[in-house]
Subunit: 304 residues, 2 copies
């Protein structure tokens, strides 16, 4: 069962011919989620052969253009390509009016239901959940209201040890109890202990997306022990004042957040165009958090 993020854009602010603004696709058990949608995201989805019509939820962090100027084009393309399945967009409240207005002036009646859910930047909340996953907003600190998102699988059921169940002739009626961690006694008084026939549930996997933000330790408790952490690293630490002035982070600071949060793996991105070679940023983050990776276009990361 996949839990994998594909990077569609690594640049901050302005795109270049080879770097694209922020967008990522998260695949959780074959459900696709789009996180941010900078200009050109739809073409990146085509380029990396993402089955984009299977994206049912889009999470937008904030209303700087490099995080949402590709949204209208993507919504339009899904419409033109015959989408009928519902789609939900999560993001700052004014985004709804921006979408509705542009649909109106183009006289577009979307063929699919489009729902918008405003995400508060004042308090963290569960913005979405179903039986498999939960999505929490993360309060970041940027020049304008901005929320990251924490995607977390819900705890699963215990895993059956199939060969033992077959060998001992455990009745089918016992299986739901065993999977939920309860012993089962059949009508003949035979007792089946869940510890004997099941293993621990598969570990719940998690991904935290934190962009854009100044260095902000307040997020650490919420993202503690996250498997995969994406944290922006717009600048190198030698120009920390520039990072602070623009409410961005340095690569070193991204590493510090990952270390303090005890993350499994750190992905850094949102690189300033001033870095032709972003390995300088990678090396800097690795000085404090060795398991750091560059979130470059087309790269895929999982929790393994």
């Amino acid at each position: 069962m996949p839990f994998e993020v594909t990077i569609l854009g690594s640049s901050s602010a302005t795109p270049t011919v080879h770097r694209h603004p922020s967008a990522q696709v998260l695949n959780i058990n074959d459900k696709l989620i789009l996180i941010d949608c900078g200009e050109g995201t739809q073409v990146q989805l085509f380029r990396y052969k993402i089955r984009y019509q299977r994206i049912n939820r889009i999470f937008i962090t904030h209303l700087h253009g490099d995080h949402f100027f590709g949204l209208m084009g993507f919504l339009s393309t899904m419409h033109l390509q015959g989408r009928v399945n519902p789609l939900t967009v999560y993001g700052p409240e004014p985004l709804e009016e921006i979408i509705r207005m542009q649909l109106k002036v183009s006289e577009t009646q979307l063929r699919y239901p489009l729902e918008f859910k405003a995400v508060s930047s004042q308090e963290s909340s569960i913005v979405y959940e179903d039986h498999e996953i939960q999505v929490e907003s993360i309060l970041l600190r940027h020049r304008i209201p901005c929320t990251g998102y924490l995607f977390r699988e819900k705890p699963g059921l215990r895993r059956l040890i199939k060969h033992k169940i077959t060998e001992d002739g455990v009745p089918v009626a016992a299986l739901p109890s065993l999977k939920h961690g309860r012993d089962y006694e059949d009508e003949k008084g035979r007792l089946f202990r869940y510890l004997e026939y099941t293993l621990e549930p598969r570990r719940s996997r998690s991904y935290a997306y934190c962009s854009d933000t100044i260095y902000h330790e307040a997020i650490i408790p919420q993202i503690a022990n996250v498997d995969l952490l994406y944290h922006e690293a717009t600048f190198a630490h030698d120009i920390l004042p520039r990072a602070e002035e623009t409410f961005h982070s340095t690569a070193l600071q991204a590493g510090m957040i990952a270390q303090k949060a005890n993350a499994g793996k750190l992905l850094i991105g949102h690189f300033s165009a001033r870095y032709k070679d972003v390995n300088v940023l990678l090396k800097e983050a690795q000085t404090v958090f060795p398991n750091t990776h560059l979130a470059l276009e087309g790269e895929r990361f999982s929790t393994d």
Copy 2:
């Protein structure tokens, strides 16, 4: 003195990895004008090394996304890259609110003055003029209000025959009169005839941009004898009903408009993604108008 259009996008509706939505740059005597601005236009400007900060006017035809979803990103990038020179956007009236709203939510105070001029789709008018050029709106027929644009150089001054002027010692004071087509008599009573010392003014060059539109002969008088005509050719003529239903034109119809308008050269574009090989559209248009060319990404066309 250049009069040259560079094609940035050739696709209709949805982009692909290799085809971009509508956008063109017109260079008239080193003044740059952007015509339409589909998603990804800024990256196309970088790719073809257009000196985009020299663009001072942007003309938008209509509010279907493939003609303007790249505008906000381009306006933002010019700001972030330090533009201070004024910029004017011409287009349908609701576009101003779409721009202002997105600047507001991102708390962007543009460093350069941005002016917006609403273009009526009810009557053709001169939407811009200076001492060198004049831009008229062209009333097209599409599903939503849509205007093309006709760019025309103003008649220039007569051209001095420099060696004759030197040989005959024509006084400097005579030159303005001669250039304006008037004879000149100096204080000694010497007469200098303009026909002897000047040539006809350089021919006024013109470019008509007609996208998107159903076949619409009403535009022909306005674009008669234009040097360069861009006319959309979304479909081939075998699916004329599809073109009519969507208020688009076929390649054959683009050729017919060029022929009836006595255009110098026809450029066709805005190709449906169904045509993997657009030469079928080129050949079709050439059956009625041989001097037809494909307006493909990166191609440059002049009036020569």
